[in-house]
């Protein structure tokens, strides 16, 4: 897969495409969507509504549960907005109504005020937090895919070189250092990095394909992601 000169085959149909075409959202599709969006939704709720950890988790959980019950995914119209925007707006509406209900109870004295936590000083808007968390989750899951792929096809060295360079938390090592550390030529470092990045790109594309409604939507998301 992904050899020189070849194009990556699509291994996954657009699950949303199937859902919006009236086939409904399969368990696999829902799992795929919630895997990618759970954390962004959770972070968005925390920042937008200043919820504590447990409240935000509960709200996120009930959002996905309610979305499934109310056929939320089938009502998505790709002509109007991207799925990500549609989902974020739905979360906002859902959480706002839950938040209002909770406040009504508070006024009645049933519920104690939850402490506002440290996220009050976040400089980014809730929308930016959602976007960034979505990127983080997308790349995190794609990196897991890459690691599993490397383990399955015996490319441990390629992954190690990639992780040492592209996932370095501080200063990146030089290609010469990496070559010496792994006992390989410097050109191999270049090739391994190019291969791993190409594969990462492929897995990101596949993850995106699962949560976009068709080829055009996918291309738009790709353009936004890479530019």
């Amino acid at each position: 897969m992904g050899g020189p000169g070849g194009q990556f085959p699509s291994t996954q149909l657009s699950l949303l495409e199937a859902a919006t075409a009236g086939a409904g959202l399969s368990n696999e599709a829902l799992e795929h969507v919630s895997e990618l969006y759970w954390k962004p939704v959770y972070r968005f709720i925390r920042v937008r509504f200043r919820k504590g950890n447990e409240d935000a988790k509960d709200l996120t959980q009930s959002f996905f549960a309610t979305a499934l019950q109310r056929d939320f995914f089938a009502r998505f119209d790709p002509a109007k907005a991207s799925f990500r925007t549609y989902l974020r707006m739905a979360v906002e509406r859902f959480a706002a109504s839950q938040h209002a209900a909770a406040n009504r109870q508070k006024r009645g004295g049933d519920v104690e005020f939850a402490p506002i936590e440290e996220q009050a000083v976040i400089a980014e808007s809730p929308e930016q937090v959602f976007e960034r968390e979505w990127h983080r989750q997308l790349f995190g899951l794609s990196l897991d895919d890459l690691r599993i792929h490397c383990e399955a096809c015996g490319k441990h060295l390629q992954f190690d070189v990639f992780a040492a360079y592209d996932l370095a938390a501080g200063d990146r090592p030089s290609y010469a250092d990496l070559a010496a550390r792994h006992g390989i030529a410097e050109t191999s470092v270049t090739n391994y990095l190019a291969w791993a990045r190409r594969m990462l790109r492929h897995f990101v594309t596949e993850r995106l394909r699962g949560v976009t409604a068709g080829e055009r939507d996918l291309r738009d998301e790709m353009r936004r992601l890479w530019t």
């Binding site: 190019a194 990045r197 530019t227």
Partner: protein
């Protein structure tokens, strides 16, 4: 895998870099990006020269070939089109040394020089339109003026691009007349503050909200500019009488001077004969 912000930013950048394995090019640096793709400076190892390398969505590969067929002095020559190992399309083109039109205009060139640039752009548009290709995103940043005065129109558009607000026609569906609108906006952009009203009128006609009120094509707009430069009345403006007389006088200055000289001599002879 939980990623820090800095690692995430690095990954987004690193995974977007073109993988040039199996090509004759070596990546140097990013030199620009737009709606259609990212442009890098690269080295052609085979011919030992620097080129501009543009990366496109694979769905636009056919469009790149279409652009490659645009052989015109005001269109940057395409050297090669191809596919990268990751499935994206690319093409390489001449790396133009020069300034974008916005930088060029900042140097306050003469009106005649500005009009020369606009005419070159218009000629490139006319050539492309005749081959069924429209630009879609004509703006100062997409026009380069080279160090020898050569003009290049770059970043020929594809279906994914919908123009830049200040230069975009308010048309629901972009076509050749949308490019005419953008050319009018470019004309207005390059004109100095004290511009002859005829040129203002040409730009205004090209930029009419109703596409049918604009020039029918690029040659029609260029013809009006040419009429202005040669001192004739332009189609876009019904000029007042005094302006028409002044233009007539300016265009026929030699003839008028000769007539005046002839009349003076005649008057002098008449005067001498009667004293």
């Amino acid at each position: 895998m939980d990623l820090s912000d800095s690692v995430l930013d690095h990954l987004r950048h690193a995974a977007a870099l073109p993988d040039l394995t199996g090509t004759r090019y070596e990546l140097e640096s990013e030199i620009g990006r737009g709606g259609m793709g990212v442009v890098y400076a690269a080295r052609d190892r085979q011919l030992d020269r620097r080129v501009a390398l543009k990366i496109l969505d694979s769905a636009l590969a056919g469009e790149a070939q279409l652009i490659a067929r645009l052989e015109h002095p005001a269109v940057v020559p395409i050297y090669e089109t191809g596919m990268l190992p990751d499935g994206r399309a690319f093409y390489t083109m001449k790396l133009v040394a020069g300034a974008g039109l916005d930088q060029y205009v900042a140097g306050a060139p003469s009106l005649g020089e500005c009009l020369r640039v606009i005419r070159r752009i218009g000629e490139a548009l006319a050539f492309a339109h005749a081959r069924g290709l429209i630009h879609r995103d004509l703006k100062p940043q997409n026009v380069m003026v080279g160090e020898f005065g050569e003009v290049y129109v770059m970043d020929w558009g594809v279906e994914a691009v919908a123009g830049t607000p200040a230069f975009r026609a308010p048309d629901a569906r972009l076509d050749q007349r949308s490019d005419i609108y953008a050319l009018g906006a470019l004309l207005r952009f390059v004109l100095p503050p004290s511009t002859p009203p005829a040129l203002e009128a040409i730009a205004a006609k090209a930029m009419r909200a109703d596409p049918t009120g604009r020039y029918a094509d690029a040659p029609a707009l260029l013809a009006d500019i040419e009429r202005f430069q040669e001192g004739f009345a332009v189609e876009a403006w019904s000029e007042p009488l005094w302006h028409r007389l002044r233009r007539f006088a300016s265009r026929n200055a030699v003839l008028l001077w000769l007539l005046a000289a002839y009349a003076s001599v005649k008057f002098l002879l008449f005067f001498l004969r009667n004293i």
